[in-house]
C-alpha cells in the first residue's frame, strides 16, 4: 500500500484553478521529484499534501487514512511530514541544535537531554555537528539548508518534502546539499522533492513527475523524460533547463 495516495486533487485560489485532477502515489522508501515551469503549481501541491493549504477537492490518503476529512489531527499529520524550504526558514533566534530540538521537545515531548542526543546524532549524519552552537546568521547557505534538513529528519517523519532545496544556493553550496539528499536517497528515505535542477532530480529520484499548468502530464524516470520526449512541452522544458548548464 502506498504511503501517500492522492486522488483527483484540485486547488483553486479565489476561483483561479492552480491544480486539477492530480493523481499520484508515493510508496514507502520511494523518492519522487516534481518538475515543471515556474508557476505551474509545484509548491502549491506540496503545501496541499501536508494541509498547509486546504485542498479545494479530492482526497489525500496518508498512511491509509483520508486526511482531507474533517476531524483529522492536522498537527499529527504535519509532524509526520518533514518539510524543507527553499529559503531554509531556520528559526533565527535559535542555534542549529535548538532548531533541531525544538520540535523534539515540544511536539515529541522528549526530555532535553534525549533531544540533544538525537539532534547530535542527526547533525553528525550530514557533517553539521561542529556548527551545532551557531545561529543561522553565522552559517553559509549550504550549512543552513543542511541544518534545515536535519531539523526535518530529526522528527523521524514518514516522508520528507523538499521545495526547491538548492535554488537559493550557489553551485558549490548546492553540491553540498545535493550530496546530502543523495545520501538520504541511497538510504531509502521516502521523499517528494520539487526542483528546477535536473542534476539534483536525476540523482535523488526513482521517478520524476512533470507538472504543467496544474496537471500531471507525465511520470517517468529521468533518462526517458530528459531527452527528446514525444510531448513537446516536456521536450521544450528540459531542452531549456539542461542547455543552460
Amino acid at each position: 500500500m502506498a504511503l501517500i495516495e492522492v486522488k483527483d486533487l484540485a486547488k483553486a485560489f479565489d476561483g483561479k484553478t492552480v491544480l486539477k485532477g492530480i493523481n499520484l502515489e508515493l510508496s514507502e522508501g520511494q523518492s519522487k521529484v516534481v518538475m515543471g515551469t515556474s508557476g505551474c503549481g509545484k509548491s502549491t501541491l506540496l503545501r496541499c499534501l501536508n494541509l498547509l493549504l486546504p485542498p479545494t477537492s479530492g482526497r489525500i490518503i496518508f498512511k491509509g487514512e483520508d486526511i482531507t476529512r474533517p476531524g483529522v489531527d492536522i498537527r499529527k499529520v504535519r509532524a509526520d511530514i518533514g518539510f524543507v524550504f527553499q529559503h531554509f526558514a531556520l528559526y533565527r533566534h535559535l542555534t542549529v541544535e535548538e532548531n533541531v530540538t525544538l520540535g523534539l521537545r515540544k511536539l515529541k515531548k522528549m526530555k532535553a537531554t534525549e533531544a540533544v542526543q538525537k539532534a547530535s546524532h542527526e547533525l553528525e549524519r550530514v557533517g553539521m555537528i561542529e556548527h551545532r552552537g551557531k545561529y543561522p546568521a553565522q552559517l553559509s547557505g549550504g550549512q543552513k539548508q543542511r541544518a534545515a534538513i536535519v531539523r526535518a529528519l530529526a522528527m523521524d517523519p514518514a516522508v520528507l518534502f523538499l521545495d526547491e532545496p538548492t535554488s537559493a544556493l550557489d553551485p558549490e553550496m548546492s553540491r553540498e546539499v545535493v550530496t546530502v539528499i543523495n545520501k538520504l536517497f541511497l538510504e531509502n528515505v521516502t521523499m517528494l522533492c520539487v526542483t528546477h535542477d535536473p542534476f539534483l532530480a536525476k540523482y535523488i529520484s526513482d521517478s520524476i513527475i512533470f507538472l504543467d499548468e496544474g496537471v500531471v502530464v507525465a511520470e517517468d524516470i529521468a533518462e526517458r523524460l530528459f531527452y527528446n520526449h514525444a510531448d513537446p512541452r516536456i521536450k521544450h522544458f528540459f531542452m531549456s533547463v539542461i542547455d543552460h548548464r
Binding site: H87, A89, K106, Q138
Partner: protein, 221 residues
C-alpha cells in the same frame, strides 16, 4: 546655607515619599503596559477579522487621544456614576491602556519585519498558532523591540508627572508643594527636572546592558 536647600532638607521625607510614588507608578505601568501590549499584539494576529479590527481600533484610539483625557474621564467623570476610584487606581488603569496600545504597536512593527517563512516552517512542523506565537514570534519580536520598549519605559517615567494633575502625590506634586511654600519656583522645577534626568539615566544604562545581553547574531535589536 541656601534657603532653598534648607527647605529641600526640611521637606525631605515628603519628597522621598513622592519619589517612591513616582517610581512605583512607573514600574507598575511598565509591567502592566508590557503585559497588556503583548496581549493586544497577540489579538492583532487573531484569525477573526472582527478581533483584529477591534484591536487596531484600540491601538489607534489610545495613540490618538491624550492620556490626561482618560485620567480626567475616570477621575472626574466616573464619580457621576457612583464609581469613585483613587488617583492611584485611575493612573494605573489609564496608563496601562495607553502604554499597552503603544507597546502593541511596537511589537506589531517588529512582527512585520519577521521572516514569515519561519512561521510557515513552524506550522509545517505541527506547531499550533499559540505555540508558534510563544516559541517563534515572541522571542524574536521582543528582542527586536527592546529599543522601543525601553524608550516607552522612559516615556512612562516622564508621564507619571501627569498624575499630579489628578491629585496623585508623586514626586512632582511634592516639589510643587516645596515651591509654593518658599516661592522658589524656578529652583524647585529645575531641581525636579534634574531628578527626572538622573532617573532616566539609570533606565538608559540598564537598557543598554539588557540590549547587549539579549542580542543574538543576525537579530539586531
Amino acid at each position: 546655607m541656601d534657603a532653598f536647600i534648607q527647605d529641600l532638607i526640611a521637606y525631605w521625607p515628603q519628597i522621598l515619599a513622592g519619589l517612591k510614588n513616582t517610581v512605583v507608578l512607573m514600574v507598575i505601568m511598565s509591567v502592566t503596559g508590557l503585559m497588556g501590549g503583548v496581549g493586544v499584539f497577540y489579538l492583532t494576529l487573531s484569525s477573526h477579522k472582527a478581533v483584529r479590527r477591534w484591536m487596531d481600533g484600540f491601538i489607534s484610539f489610545f495613540i490618538g487621544t491624550p492620556l490626561i483625557v482618560h485620567l480626567f474621564l475616570m477621575y472626574y467623570g466616573l464619580p457621576e456614576l457612583g464609581i469613585r476610584l483613587s488617583a492611584f487606581t485611575v493612573a494605573v488603569i489609564g496608563f496601562t491602556l495607553n502604554v499597552s496600545a503603544y507597546n502593541a504597536r511596537y511589537l506589531a512593527t517588529a512582527y512585520n519585519g519577521l521572516d514569515k517563512t519561519e512561521l510557515e516552517a513552524a506550522r509545517s512542523q505541527g506547531f499550533t498558532r499559540r505555540e508558534t506565537f510563544r516559541l517563534i514570534i515572541m522571542p524574536q519580536v521582543m528582542r527586536m523591540s527592546v529599543p522601543s520598549l525601553t524608550n516607552q519605559a522612559i516615556q512612562n517615567l516622564k508621564d507619571t508627572s501627569v498624575a499630579f494633575l489628578i491629585q496623585y502625590h508623586d514626586f512632582f506634586a511634592q516639589m510643587q508643594e516645596v515651591a509654593s511654600t518658599n516661592f522658589q519656583f524656578f529652583k524647585a522645577y529645575v531641581t525636579a527636572g534634574a531628578v527626572y534626568l538622573a532617573l532616566i539615566s539609570i533606565i538608559v544604562l540598564a537598557a543598554r546592558r539588557l540590549e547587549k545581553r539579549i542580542a543574538l547574531p543576525g537579530l539586531a535589536t
